[in-house]
Point group: C2
Chain length 354, copies 2
């Protein structure tokens, strides 16, 4: 039997805390019986509830934490109040000490990122972490990063994101050489941000072994699934992600209104119910719940704060897959390869210069 995978959970994180985290963890456990959990939270809240989930209880160890980070606390505030002792901090710390292979939290994104950076630190040769989102497309799924870890990115950071996202695509989709595009805008004269153009040139020249650079992509290429990995800085990435979510909700609303308008349309809805169910499932945001923090010495998964147990289970599934498919090792290999080949390039160039 394969080795078990230990996942640490910030049970207090999210809009609903333990009430969603525990049943979510049980759902994921049924799907992956080789998961072991370390649960971090307040004993008064967690333990009574945990008794309702005997399977989960058996697969878990529990650690009491005095502090829970509020959903609206600022990152600096969260760090001040919650370092060393909050359930959020300690779930991340378990990854650092090696007790867990990955941490999952539905807590405040800013606080979670600040603590993850502080606790795990960025990997050697990586200046900044990124949050990678899994984006449902017409072809399947793509990875988009950064969707909001930091604003702005220089060319080197964009290349780092390409390597990180490429490794994640190999781990998640099982593709040997994922395609990568840089998000840009279509107006020619300004095509585009200088950093994006420089990153594009460097990616073309370097010819990384681990990914296939496809050039610039525009906003509408994301949903088409034009590339496996879309690379951008966090401001534009976050706006793209939220805009797509908003558009999906808006169209869902139109559709509901249209189907409810006349008797005929209501009858039509009944006939086509299974089709609508399929569509709803396809558009279900709980299916692809989970932002992956990349570029740190350890993996942290951010679940949507408002999700339900099913959605939380998806975030755990993602955490499980990332460990099972050796995301961290893949990233490390790709980084070594990239830096070797760029040093080799530079050595060659220097020789040429002599």
């Amino acid at each position: 039997m394969a080795k078990t995978i230990t996942i640490s959970l910030d049970v207090m994180g999210g809009d609903h805390g333990a009430e969603v985290v525990l049943p979510g963890a049980e759902i994921a456990l049924v799907r992956h019986p080789d998961i072991r959990y370390i649960l971090f939270g307040n004993e008064k809240v967690v333990l009574p509830l945990l008794d309702k989930y005997p399977k989960l209880k058996q697969a878990s160890t529990f650690q009491h934490c005095e502090v829970a980070i509020a959903m609206d606390s600022k990152p600096s505030q969260a760090l001040r109040q919650g370092r060393w002792k909050s359930s959020m901090w300690r779930s991340i710390e378990a990854v650092k000490t090696g007790e867990a292979s990955v941490a999952v939290s539905a807590g405040n994104t800013g606080a979670l990122m600040a603590m993850s950076k502080f606790c795990l630190r960025t990997m050697a040769n990586i200046e900044r972490p990124a949050i990678a989102a899994i984006w449902p497309t017409a072809r399947g799924e793509s990875i988009v990063l950064d969707v909001g870890a930091t604003i702005g990115a220089d060319a080197q950071q964009l290349i780092d994101f390409a390597i990180l996202g490429g490794a994640m695509a190999r781990a998640l989709f099982g593709i040997k050489k994922p395609t990568v595009g840089l998000l840009n805008i279509g107006v020619e004269e300004v095509k585009g941000l200088e950093e994006v153009r420089t990153a594009g040139r460097l990616l073309r020249e370097t010819q990384l072994r681990s990914l296939k650079y496809e050039g610039f992509v525009e906003g509408d290429d994301i949903g088409r699934g034009a590339v496996d990995v879309v690379v951008t800085e966090g401001f534009a990435g976050n706006i793209a992600l939220k805009t797509a979510e908003g558009t999906a909700k808006q169209i869902g609303g139109y559709l509901r209104a249209a189907m409810n308008r006349t008797l005929m349309s209501k009858i039509g809805y009944l006939f086509a119910k299974s089709a609508f169910d399929r569509l709803r499932e396809k558009m279900d945001p709980r299916k692809v719940n989970g932002g992956v923090f990349l570029g740190l010495n350890g993996i942290v998964i951010k679940s949507h704060g408002g999700t339900d147990a099913e959605g939380y289970a998806s975030a755990i599934d993602l955490a499980y897959d990332m460990v099972r498919n050796e995301l961290t090792q893949k990233i490390a290999q790709d980084l070594v390869h990239y830096h070797r080949s760029s040093f080799a390039d530079e050595a060659e160039k220097s020789e040429g210069d002599l």
Copy 2:
């Protein structure tokens, strides 16, 4: 009877040129019999076709132009080849000379913006033009700008965009005091771009008579219709717009596939056909065709390059509305008011300093 409105058309612009522009112009003319057109294009292409549209022919004057700007020409190239003599240039120039009140082109966006800037120049006190898009929302329609005129914007430019967009909302929606939001991202620590924060502070302090500043909005607030005017710089704005278009297409594809899958769903589709037609109409991109160039000494409307006659007619409708509702005058008033009140503020402050 109200004064006629003269609109200049770049008949050669767009993927299909005269074949779409002329029938589109006729459709809009039927809706607004008080339109007069000045048609700019190559006589060999336009005149034979124009004979097929006697009503249009009667309402138009024609001007022969040797040069047509290619859809893939770079702005600098277009300016070199097409200044003074292309159908694109001359349709814009007609606005400058006052022969026309507004120009419409389905040509290359970059070239059209470059020529519009060069020919019309930016308004006094406005540093940079913006492209404003009309965005269908759950509540109706909003205006989003800039969607790609230039990358980046400092705080003052964002305030200019707020004033320009606010005036357009008053002209288009007939709202006295449109609500305005600044597009930003939700991660707290980085909330957000410094320019956006500064612009927010200034908008709050200035309390413009012509608009109601509502604070930051996120990507998903656009589709919700949270504010009448969403202000952002051109990179993020363009990516948001294209991403929303891509998402709408993607969901449309899902829906078609779902409805075609089983006999039951096909029957359901037939019953609900009128509902689907309504939905299709609601999502029809031709309905809201037209980016408005704001901040120049004259209005230019950019139609989608690939649209059909119906879509082109929408762009003309928009041009018509902008003139009929005195967009230019509204902008000028708002700018005067804003600069008076900020000068007054500064004068007051200086007095206070003494």
